[in-house]
């Protein structure tokens, strides 16, 4: 059926490979209507290794989404250097190295599930990456039976699975997930985090470094359940105030959420979130 190499499960972090993301003193400042400057992101430096699943947690408006958009090349940083696989984000777009998933599924209402999933391959087709067979992908996300359905005919969870499949169709080495489960109910949400881990870890390219992911979320348990590393951001203007490694072995399972190690990690992230911000940064500034 498919001449593609079999799916391989990979999740070791490769410290020697080219980092997925390297930010050096990246900042973002908006000019407000009255001519003032609004700091959306203070100077931030950050390295995310190949194969690393990084969760970004922090209060609303702290700049998580700004950071994500800068990495995706959708917003230009005001200053600093952004490298995605050793090149500017625009190049990463060109090489189809980015898989974006948003809070709302953002599917094309007039296309079937199948054609939505195909979209990333269809646009600007360049065979820089082997294209995962669409059938196989639909099978993996459990939408084979619904391939001809329109997005409006699917539940929220199924729509989000279609959006994940669309992002994965180009087999991108970096997944950028902006609160992908925020609009889902709690039960679906808890299922989806383990599905996401599975989708993230499988690839058709055994030779390439494992896939990296940046996962923006408001949910501490979700972050700890799925990530290798949780970055905690302070309230606006958000700085990265904690970098907490999560050592629960993979593949992760729901039972892990009851382990002492898990509880401990959650407690660590929670206390980092509660940590008082430096007095120099008033909470309601700007």
């Amino acid at each position: 059926m498919s001449q593609l190499p079999p799916l391989v499960i990979k999740h070791p972090i490769e410290p020697d490979a080219e980092p997925a993301i390297r930010l050096t003193d990246v900042r973002l400042t908006y000019v407000t209507k009255d001519g003032g400057a609004l700091e959306a992101l203070p100077p931030t430096s950050l390295t995310i290794r190949a194969g690393e699943f990084t969760a970004l947690v922090g209060p609303s408006g702290c700049g998580k989404t700004s950071l994500m958009r800068i990495v995706a090349g959708l917003t230009a940083a005001t200053a600093g250097d952004v490298q995605v696989f050793g090149q500017p984000p625009k190049q990463a777009q060109r090489h189809k190295q980015l898989g974006l998933v948003f809070q709302d599924a953002a599917l094309l209402a007039w296309r079937s599930v199948e054609d939505n999933v195909r979209l990333g391959l269809q646009l600007n087709p360049r065979q820089t990456h082997s294209s995962t067979e669409i059938d196989e992908l639909l099978e993996i996300v459990g939408l084979s039976a619904f391939r001809r359905y329109r997005p409006a005919e699917l539940s929220g969870g199924m729509q989000q699975r279609a959006a994940l499949a669309r992002a994965l169709a180009i087999d991108p080495p970096l997944l950028l997930l902006d609160e992908p489960f925020a609009a889902l109910d709690e039960i679906t949400r808890e299922q989806m985090r383990y599905e996401l881990e599975r989708l993230w870890s499988i690839s058709h390219n055994p030779t390439e470094p494992p896939r990296s992911a940046v996962f923006v979320t408001h949910s501490v348990t979700e972050a700890v359940a799925i990530a290798d590393r949780v970055l905690v951001m302070s309230p606006r203007p958000g700085r990265i105030i904690a970098d907490i490694p999560i050592t629960t072995p993979r593949p992760r399972r729901p039972e892990h959420e009851h382990s002492d190690r898990f509880m401990n990690d959650v407690a660590n992230v929670r206390s980092a979130l509660r940590a008082p911000t430096t007095p120099a940064v008033p909470l309601d500034a700007a």
Partner: protein
């Protein structure tokens, strides 16, 4: 007497039933709502016609003021060939103007949706043209373009372009920003974004505009024919026969215009069912 034209009118909502079921076959349960929809207006029309017939006969109203409905029908079928051929000329002008106006407006809207400069340059001019009564410029157009089909089509186009322009601009811009982000993240070109995102998003808007424009184009064609009377078309017939005081012929021409108008409106509704991914029940107003 009255049964003949009824059959004519009955042919119209067949399209809407085909459309609502998306099948070509008509079964009995489907025919019932059809009858429920078309029977009441037909009965109402028949009652009005009978009332007028009685009034004209009993009150001995002059034929120069009000022809008997039976005379109108007799003339309509007696000179059916003439009304059909003149009607086709009016229809051709109407459709020509609609095509020209829609095409020009859609192209302009595509430009405006992509460029603020174009928007600033074109929109005020478009509104100026729209607020100038078309009737006022018809003599000019006849001087410039002669008595042929050119000024008529131009007039029909002038009267139809505005709803299409405004709706198409709104449609091309009615794009989910997340979806736009996704397109950018895989390095889609401006053309690809237009072809796969903006254009399909605008289709329901275009149909909403067409519902308004299609009847406007018929008005434009008839008004243009008044000015070029003697050059044919139902507008020409009305003009000439009004001068001859043959009011039954004026009414017969109007009846033919009504039938053309109903056919055109139905055609747009059917086309919307076939080609639009979203069916707009309420047409957007100008």
């Amino acid at each position: 007497m009255v049964s003949e034209p009824l059959r004519e009118v009955e042919s119209l909502p067949v399209g809407s039933v085909v459309a609502s079921s998306r099948r070509m076959a008509l079964s009995l349960p489907e025919l019932r709502p059809l009858l429920q929809w078309i029977a009441p207006p037909l009965v109402a029309l028949a009652l009005v016609a009978i009332a007028v017939e009685v009034w004209v006969r009993v009150g001995d109203v002059s034929i120069w003021l009000m022809p008997r409905p039976s005379m109108v029908l007799e003339n309509f079928f007696g000179e059916f060939g003439r009304y059909v051929s003149e009607g086709l000329r009016t229809l051709a002008v109407s459709l020509g103007g609609l095509a020209l106006g829609t095409l020009a407006a859609t192209l302009l809207a595509a430009g405006v949706a992509h460029s603020t400069l174009l928007e600033r340059a074109i929109l005020p001019v478009a509104i100026m043209v729209k607020v100038t009564p078309v009737v006022a410029v018809i003599p000019l157009l006849i001087v410039w373009l002669g008595y042929g089909w050119e000024p008529k089509i131009t007039i029909a186009a002038l009267i139809t372009y505005f709803p299409v322009l405004i709706n198409a601009i709104a449609g091309f811009r009615d794009v989910d920003p997340r979806m736009h982000d996704f397109f950018r993240s895989v390095d889609a070109s401006t053309w690809e974004i237009f072809r796969h995102l903006r254009w399909p998003a605008a289709v329901p808007f275009l149909f909403a505009a067409l519902k308004i424009s299609v009847t406007l184009s018929l008005i434009g064609a008839v008004v243009a024919e008044f000015f070029a009377a003697g050059q044919g078309g139902l507008g020409g017939v009305i003009w000439v026969e009004q001068n001859n005081l043959r009011l039954e012929k004026v009414f017969a021409a109007v009846l033919m215009l009504t039938l053309i108008g109903i056919t055109l409106s139905t055609a747009v509704v059917v086309a919307e069912r076939l080609f639009s991914w979203r069916i707009d029940q309420s047409a957007t107003s100008t």
